[in-house]
């Protein structure tokens, strides 16, 4: 029988009991949780879920990285219950839609997101309980809302049964090409196999700083689950504002990043006076102990790999997607080729169909939750159609060279469905036709104004642009930073269309006014 995350965690709790599993900042103090304490809390949450009658159900989590978040997540998946991590930065209406579509019956909510409570209670009738991720008891005038401490206190009686490797452990939402996000169902076996198959080892107590959003498969599986399997100490970056500061506080040896982070750090490296020795600069910017950065989620210019090597930091690029739990291939210290995304993991087979990368193996998802058509399109005879184009060189290294599907991949690793945003922006009367494109690390709205509205309001060119910019500014305020529109092009002519009157997306920039014209 295959391994479970529960087996991996129990082994680590036994072997590394006194080592710090998690460290985090509270004001200026560094707090920590040993593997032994972590396991005790995980078991308490799992037993609490059993006692409250939610074993086997779907339980969502909304919040940024915290020790309470990860203990609750592990309390869910080490029982036979399904965890649904959601992006705390999404607007309320998106979150309630995902809570309802995932059939979540309970929710763990970060105290920082308490403002969402009323709206969630009003729009998600299936939710039987909401546990606030805090140890302090809570005085909230709704019996459905309790604290994590109360859940753990309820944990008397039986433990939850061990899950089966084929049971769904987690549902992770990812952008869909049709404008509706899809819930990727990953089994217990999918997750455990990915943790085991990623070829990286480190000494127990190795310090890892987690800077990616915890609801992302890459962060969740590779920072946290892989980190715990090695007995690493996972440190929490409390805010992207403080990433560099936290690197000097925690002095990490290993980090996972998306290319955007590497690009930003490089700007800081470049701004330091060239006369200062590189070792001193590296100590200041990276904290002094950083050895490896694993990166994935988007294309990384090989320039950065050479550049960071000058400062003594190895950048190892990999490739993955939520549907593959998520790592498919990765460069390693021993086997790497700049520009490639490494060799496939031992549990993944790769083949190509018209240039598209197909993946088969024990970490490939079970399917999309309640989306049989999408599942059938993506999973054919066990082969997952990635939507990425690539090739394998003679040494077995995988290279990515394009996209099949219409998704924008930003350098922060976020996958954006342009249709999803276009549909929302098109509701404004002044927007006649719209195409959203991705460039320079951001999104640009290309808009052809509705000429009837322009005429009726008597707007000149400048007024149209100001009105559209004001509308985008308003839209941006309610969006997580990665979904904000940072560029605006106002077209003078309609978009080029196909015979069926659909805008030709690949020709969206044809016939555009040039800047300053």
């Amino acid at each position: 029988m295959g391994k479970l995350i529960r087996d991996i965690l129990e082994e680590s709790a036994g072997k590394y009991s006194e080592i710090a599993a998690v460290k985090w900042l509270k004001k200026k103090d560094i707090l920590e949780r040993s593997y032994k304490e972590l396991m005790e809390n995980v078991v308490a949450v799992r037993r609490g879920i059993q006692a409250e009658g939610f074993a086997g159900k779907h339980i969502a989590l909304i919040g940024v990285s915290s020790v309470e978040w990860i203990e609750s997540y592990l309390g869910i998946i080490t029982g036979n219950t399904v965890a649904v991590p959601l992006d705390a930065g999404l607007p309320l209406e998106d979150l309630t839609d995902l809570l309802n579509r995932s059939d979540s019956e309970a929710l763990f909510l970060s105290p920082k997101n308490q403002a969402l409570l009323e709206g969630i209670l009003a729009s998600c009738p299936k939710l039987g309980k909401i546990w606030m991720l805090q140890e302090e008891t809570l005085d909230f005038p709704n019996q459905k809302v309790e604290s994590l401490a109360e859940l753990k206190a309820a944990s008397s009686g039986d433990d939850a049964r061990r899950p089966d490797p084929n049971d769904v452990a987690t549902i992770i939402f990812t952008s869909g090409t049709t404008g509706k996000s899809k819930g990727v169902m990953l089994t217990q076996g999918n997750l455990a196999e990915n943790v085991i198959s990623v070829d990286y080892t480190a000494d127990p107590g190795t310090t890892l700083l987690s800077v990616l959003p915890i609801h992302h498969a890459y962060c969740l599986v590779m920072d946290w689950l892989k980190g715990f399997s090695l007995g690493a100490t996972v440190c929490i970056n409390d805010s992207l504002l403080h990433m560099v500061r936290n690197m000097s506080i925690f002095k990490p040896e290993v980090m996972l990043m998306v290319p955007l982070m590497i690009e930003t750090i490089d700007k800081r490296l470049a701004s330091v006076d060239a006369s200062i020795p590189k070792k001193a600069v590296a100590d200041q910017v990276f904290g002094g102990n950083l050895d490896i950065i694993f990166t994935g989620g988007a294309h990384l210019d090989p320039f950065y790999i050479e550049r960071f090597a000058e400062y003594g930091v190895k950048v190892l690029e990999g490739y993955g997607m939520s549907e593959c739990s998520p790592v498919i291939s990765s460069n390693t210290e021993e086997m790497n080729k700049t520009g490639s995304v490494g060799k496939p993991l031992s549990n993944a087979s790769i083949r190509f169909e018209n240039g598209e990368i197909l993946v088969k193996g024990s970490s490939v998802m079970k399917g999309y939750y309640k989306m049989p058509e999408e599942t059938a399109k993506t999973l054919q005879d066990g082969w997952l159609h990635t939507g990425d184009k690539g090739y394998m060189d003679e040494d077995g290294f995988l290279f990515i060279n394009g996209r099949v599907k219409n998704l924008i991949i930003l350098s922060n690793g976020e996958n954006i469905s342009p249709e999803e945003i276009e549909n929302k922006l098109a509701l404004n009367a002044l927007v006649g036709e719209i195409i959203v494109t991705g460039e320079d690390n951001g999104l640009t709205a290309r808009i052809y104004p509705d000429q009837d509205v322009v005429a009726a309001k008597g707007l000149d060119e400048e007024a149209v642009k100001s009105a559209l910019q004001a509308f985008l500014d308003q839209y941006n305020k309610e969006q997580p930073t990665y979904r904000r529109i940072t560029g605006l092009v106002v077209r003078k002519n309609p978009f080029i269309k196909s015979a069926t009157q659909k805008i030709k997306r690949q020709e969206a920039t044809v016939d555009e006014p040039q800047p300053g014209v």
Partner: protein
């Protein structure tokens, strides 16, 4: 060096515009080409350099160089 110049020098690390060419109405994303993370990193540097503490939610509403400088002055006045 004036505080404003020191402030603009931090901005200049993330873009190609020189501090002396920066104007208050320049937008970080659209005019200076900041990525979302450049902006976060810049805010972190403001905190460390000027010893202020930003509320992330308020800080992310800032769009222009002038608005960021105003926010900094307001926080310093409150400190």
């Amino acid at each position: 060096m004036t505080q404003e110049m020191e402030f603009k020098k931090i901005i200049a690390q993330y873009c190609k515009v020189k501090p002396e060419e920066m104007t208050a109405d320049m937008r970080f994303r659209e005019d200076l080409g900041f990525s979302s993370l450049d902006f976060m990193s810049f805010l972190g540097e403001l905190e460390d350099t000027f010893d202020v503490e930003l509320e992330e939610e308020d800080a992310l509403k800032v769009l222009t160089v002038g608005e960021a400088l105003e926010l900094l002055k307001k926080l310093q006045a409150e400190a």
